[in-house]
Amino acid sequence: MTDSVVPNAPALSEAEARPARRHVLPWNTRWLGVGLIVVLLLVWEVAAATGRMPSLSFPRMSEILAAWWRLILSGELPRELADSLWRMFAGYFIGVLLGIMLGLLMGYFRFFYNLLEPITEVLRPIPSPAYLPIVILFLGIDDGMKVFMIAFASLFPVLINTYSGVRSVDPIQLQTARTFGVTGRKLIWQIVLPASSPYIFTGMRVSLAVALIVMVISEMVAASSGIGYFILSAQRGFQIREMFAGVLTLAVVGYVLNRLFVAIENRVLAWHYGYTQQQRH
């Protein structure tokens, strides 16, 4: 029998293992794009400094960064951010959990699909800002309203993807589990959930972006704290540098959250990438 496996391949010598790294030119890497950001910021700086831009609405980049630094040191920005992130994660996790549960039910039981599919399709296309006023009527303008908004908007991408994932579980895997007497709740935990996890993660990633958006919107409409509130009130108070600092904060938060998500996804779904790569051969 031919037991050929990749890990048994002869170990590479150190010179071979290290590719010719120093020959990779910077414009063939991601540093090219980082350079573009730096260039654009410099253009901004120069344009604002030379008065080619209205200085009231376009302060110099250096002034914005200085204001940003002050706001971080004073603790004002971290405080607003903490309020926002708390709401966002509370809503996000509720939405994800409900989305997975409903998606599982709909994918697994025809009854729940028939029951819930129409209402899903009616509610899903409504842009979340549209029902914000209704939610305010019922929940007021406190955290409960924001958490609800975020949870509700995060729910659908996870629900739809979980449903697709459950439907696409290989019937042979399910039959295999059945031959070992694994049925019911055990089957969901041990086979259906792990097998559809790549889909669930796709939905969770979409929902993360949605949660961030809905957090900002609901804070702008009605709040007395949070980063969305901060940006809008800075603009209304003509604190333009502070307003930009708030937007930059969101850029950083969005970037960090996405990197964190990808890192977790790569860890949990390592098997999936290997498996799909093998399937393609």
């Binding site: 029998m1 031919t2 039959q175 070992f180 055990k186």
Partner: protein, 269 residues
């Protein structure tokens, strides 16, 4: 009845009708079989003769339209604990998110109340038996096809089944790997005292492996031939396949299948 072992596995007038939009197809039409404990029975037949359907009914994966299957005098309704099924499509049957050892332990963890230490010991023993020691922490998709099918066999054997039901398990691997898997299966069958029911479209494979070969007719499937294969043990890929009795069994089964297809042996060659 005094000799119960003779009726270890009984297939009684099993009939299976599949309903489809274009009408109904009779896949199996009154199949009768009695299988002795410890035997190695191959079911051969042309593709579409319902041999896989029969195996799935025996495994309790699908229900017969009428008739019944009894395993150790208990009627089969749903997968019976004493019988395990090995699928042809090993790449789809193994769980890609579990390592080799976690796949092998899947049945053990779910079927039996064993301590962690016992599970680990049994797992190690079985992985050694199918010669996969050293690959415990690999994922199935990192292994060759033959090794993956050995993982699937190990996963079934870990539960110490009395019956192993195999649906064309070696049809997706190359000839050399297949010969290796055949030898492994024969030695496991002899060492562990298993009863094996082995579905294949390959008459040679059926004769070489088995103590008995059952040929089904094209759908609606019924038993067309039932031969006891009286070849000496241990068998050898080259010597056994050259024995006159081996060639005789093979010729009789092929003649049966060709006649069923309406072919004359001369035309086929």
């Amino acid at each position: 009845m005094t000799d119960t072992s003779r009726q270890f596995l009984r297939v009684c007038s099993v009939r299976k009708v599949f309903g489809a939009a274009g009408g109904t197809t009779v896949a199996l039409n009154g199949v009768e079989l009695e299988i002795t404990k410890g035997s190695f029975v191959s079911i051969v037949g042309p593709s579409g003769c319902g041999k896989s359907t029969l195996l799935q009914i025996i495994a309790g994966l699908i229900d017969a339209t009428s008739g019944a299957v009894f395993l150790a005098d208990r009627e089969v309704k749903g997968p019976p604990p004493g019988a395990l099924y090995v699928f042809q499509q090993y790449t789809r049957s193994l769980f890609p998110w579990k390592t080799v050892e976690r796949n092998v332990a899947f049945g053990l963890e779910n079927r039996e109340t064993l301590s962690r230490i016992d599970v680990a010991a049994r797992r190690r023993e079985i992985i050694g038996l199918v010669k996969l020691t050293g690959f415990e922490h690999h994922y199935p998709w990192q292994l060759s096809g033959g090794m993956q099918q050995r993982v699937a066999i190990a996963r079934a054997l870990a539960c110490r089944p009395e019956v192993l039901l195999m649906d064309e398990p070696f049809s997706a691997v190359d000839a050399l790997t297949r010969a290796g898997l055949q030898e492994l299966l024969r030695s496991l069958w002899r060492e562990l005292g298993l009863t094996v029911i082995f579905v294949t479209h390959d008459v040679d494979e059926g004769v070489y492996l088995s103590t008995r070969v059952v040929a089904l007719t094209r759908a609606p499937g019924t038993v067309a031939a039932d031969l006891t294969i009286d070849l000496p043990h241990p068998r050898d890929q080259i010597a056994t396949r050259a024995l006159p009795q081996y060639l005789d069994y093979r010729a009789r089964l092929l003649a049966q299948l060709f006649a069923d297809e309406g072919l004359v042996a001369g035309e086929v060659a």
